[in-house]
């Protein structure tokens, strides 16, 4: 693998010349408008490090898997990032420049991610990379992006324990998702015993470690902790174990195809999640996953995340409508898709605050950058490059959507290196 080189270059809707023309007119009129305030800053001023910035364009990179196992999860992120880029362009671009993008395919293969990020940084000189999904792909990009001093906007909720000067983490790190979720289960549902279940790799293991520490701190009990290999499809034994232990809460971080097998088999084993005996709290099933699992198999489970498609606020309504208009009515939007959408907007805000595309200039400005139009509500970048965000609990409905039943009052502080949890 890794030979498939699907590189696309151009504007998001590059095919239709009519659209391009209208876009140009739009751009021109916007430029006129900005020139009323003051001319678009000269390229030499805003770009001193040889990035792909011209007088009227700036090039960014999109790097996700569009082939291979992970394509399933990553395509939503690609769509969200392109949508954000379109919208930014339509509203005048960044520092008066229209965003163009180069898209590369990571092909679900971690070395390919490293290679493609090198290509984006060295050959295309992109001003930002929106990409990566799994922790493994991020770890593959990390040395490259640090070596060439690029900036990666990473959308997935992840295990934390990382803070690179060259990455902005637009998803939640583990403590934001987990602590609030467990607190809710304890306070609202009176949970006393927990069964931790996950796929066998770094994210579920780290997440469960944090969960276990937190449960211990609360003086409650973990009655079982289990991991299954990625892609595992037979969960009958663990279902029996759960029946034997009778926990109040199953805390699940199963991912990928295993998810489908797990929930179908739970349902088949006569477990009705709407009874909440046991209650299932997941940190890995977004609306995207439910499409594959089937609403009837997960009805009643709870998820702890920062975003649900059903969030009732004007930003989100606009976002969902725009997303469906661009990609079709049957699209669903999960937590990561929304976080990916934040990437280009946060980059734009940072660039405009710094008055420069230079990575070092942007980095100085990150702390405190706010984005009021976020579909999840309001977000702010913490000095550790993660986002302050609220955590919400949603209950899965038959139609595959979550109903929000709880949200934290305050923004949760991102804490990638939680003391006492490692």
């Amino acid at each position: 693998m890794g030979t498939t080189d699907i590189a696309a270059r151009g504007r998001p809707f590059g095919k239709g010349t009519g659209f391009r023309k209208s876009l140009m007119t739009l751009a021109a009129s916007v430029m006129l408008a900005t020139s009323a305030h003051g001319a678009t800053p000269a390229t030499a001023e805003v770009n001193t490090t040889g990035l792909a910035v011209t007088d009227d364009t700036v090039t960014v990179g999109i790097l996700h898997s569009i082939t291979g196992t992970m394509a399933l999860s990553e395509i939503g992120s690609v769509q969200a990032e392109k949508l954000a880029i379109d919208q930014i362009n339509a509203s005048g671009g960044v520092l008066g420049r229209q965003i163009e993008f180069v898209q590369e395919d990571g092909a679900s293969d971690w070395p390919t991610f490293a290679e493609k990020s090198r290509k984006l940084l060295r050959q295309d000189n992109v001003a930002a990379i929106f990409g990566a999904w799994t922790s493994a792909s991020r770890k593959a990009i990390l040395p490259v992006i640090e070596q060439y001093n690029g900036m990666l906007y990473y959308p997935t909720f992840y295990e934390g324990l990382e803070q690179s000067p060259n990455v902005v983490y637009t998803g939640q790190e583990a403590t934001q998702q987990i602590l609030a979720g467990i607190d809710w289960a304890v306070e609202a549902k009176g949970a006393k015993t927990f069964y931790l279940l996950g796929s066998d790799y770094i994210w579920p293991r780290t997440s469960n470690k944090i969960a276990r520490k937190h449960i211990d701190k609360l003086g409650l009990k973990v009655v079982g902790e289990e991991y299954y290999p990625l892609g595992h499809t037979q969960f009958n034994s663990v279902i029996n174990k759960i029946k034997l232990k009778k926990p109040d809460v199953i805390f699940a971080s199963v991912v990928g195809g295993s998810n489908v097998a797990f929930y179908k088999q739970m349902k088949a084993a006569g477990v009705d999640f709407t009874d909440e005996k046991p209650l299932l709290l997941t940190i890995s099933v977004t609306e995207d996953e439910i499409r594959g699992i089937g609403g009837e198999n997960v009805e009643g489970i709870y998820a702890s995340m920062k975003y649900f498609q059903s969030l009732d606020n004007p930003n989100n309504k606009e976002f969902v409508a725009a997303f469906k208009e661009a990609y079709g009515d049957d699209m669903v939007i999960g937590d990561v898709t929304q976080a990916a959408y934040l990437g280009p907007w946060l980059w734009k805000a940072a660039v405009e605050k710094a008055g420069s595309f230079d990575i070092d200039e942007i980095r100085k400005e990150f702390a405190g950058i706010e984005f009021n139009k976020a579909p999840e509500g309001y977000v702010r970048i913490h000095e550790n490059h993660h986002l302050w965000s609220k955590t919400r609990i949603g209950q899965a409905q038959l139609d595959g959507q979550y109903k929000v039943v709880y949200e934290t009052e305050e923004l949760m502080e991102p804490d990638p290196f939680p003391e006492g949890y490692q």
Partner: protein, 308 residues
């Protein structure tokens, strides 16, 4: 780990665990049967086996969609039709693949490995282009969802029972076909000695094609059945391929009985160990035992005794 449970609770858990082992056994039999025919009887290493299974799953998905839109009244029975269709579609594609690709590679068995691996990538990407990268949800008719409660604690999943019945029927069907029919006799003749079989007038090319198609068709039925318990996505087939080869190789490549015995052994070992250890450890131990036994018996459990 059993402190504080009454003996009746323990009994029911063991009953359920036994059932879990049996349903894993039937899953293994279903997965491995098609491959046992192709790999065991023809010596073709079919890396695209998982993708043929997923083709069966997608056929089921399309059939369910069709019934929902056009024949909602008959939705309850769509699954049986879907399985027949899955067999036909997969067998047809199997025959085509054999004609286009496999038959040119019989003398180069290792090249079939590469060629069918390439085929599996092509099929995965085709699914991705046609059905989208996301997994699709296959809706089941009402009667197949849920469990039969025997007692309070013992609940037998209906779809698990259904998979068992399918696995049993296919095993019996394949047995009858291979050991009680004229076609089976010819297949076995070709496997044991191709030149001699040809000399007595058996059309070995035709037998090859039919056998490959049969193996693929059975994979299709397996795929249809697995929509009940697993995911249907472009790369879901990859989840099955390792276990499938494990079962077939462990059983002894040329023996169908061996395949069934090995499926039974591996499934029981795995589900018992899963109960006492963690899932990943159970898998590791199962693999270790299999590797150990294969070192002692490189031909697998049931080696076919023929003069070479």
């Amino acid at each position: 780990m059993f402190d504080g449970y009454t003996s009746s609770e323990l009994m029911s858990i063991f009953a359920m665990q036994g059932f879990a082992g049996l349903s894993l056994f039937s899953v293994f039999v279903l997965m491995a049967m098609g491959l046992a025919i192709i790999f065991g009887q023809m010596g073709v290493i079919n890396m695209a086996h998982g993708e043929f299974m997923i083709l069966g799953a997608y056929t089921t998905y399309l059939t369910s969609g069709f019934f929902q839109s056009y024949l909602p009244g008959l939705f309850g029975g769509y699954f049986l039709i879907a399985m027949v269709l899955a067999f036909i579609v997969c067998a047809a594609l199997g025959a085509l693949v054999e004609w286009l690709m496999i038959r040119h590679l019989y003398h180069r068995p290792l090249d079939t490995l590469l060629a069918t691996w390439g085929l599996s990538l092509i099929m995965q990407q085709a699914y991705r282009s046609i059905f989208g990268a996301r997994e699709v949800g296959v809706e089941l008719p009402e009667w197949m969802i849920g469990a039969i409660s025997v007692t309070d604690l013992v609940e037998l999943p209906i779809n698990g029972l259904f998979v068992m019945i399918i696995a049993l029927s296919i095993a019996v069907g394949v047995y009858l076909l291979m050991y009680r029919s004229g076609y089976g006799k010819k297949v076995r003749a070709v496997v044991q000695n191709r030149p001699m079989a040809e000399a007595v007038g058996i059309n070995s090319a035709g037998i090859d094609r039919a056998t490959f198609a049969l193996g693929c068709g059975i994979a299709g039925i397996a795929g249809a059945a697995f929509t009940m318990i697993g995911s249907t996505g472009p790369s879901s087939g990859q989840a099955y391929i390792v276990d499938t080869f494990l079962v077939v190789v462990f059983g002894g490549a040329q023996s169908l009985i061996g395949t069934i015995i090995s499926a039974f052994g591996i499934s029981q070992a795995q589900s018992t160990m899963e109960f006492f250890l963690s899932g990943s450890m159970a898998k590791v131990l199962t693999l270790l035992v299999v590797v150990g036994i294969l070192m002692l018996r490189p031909e697998g459990l049931m080696a076919l005794k023929v003069r070479r």
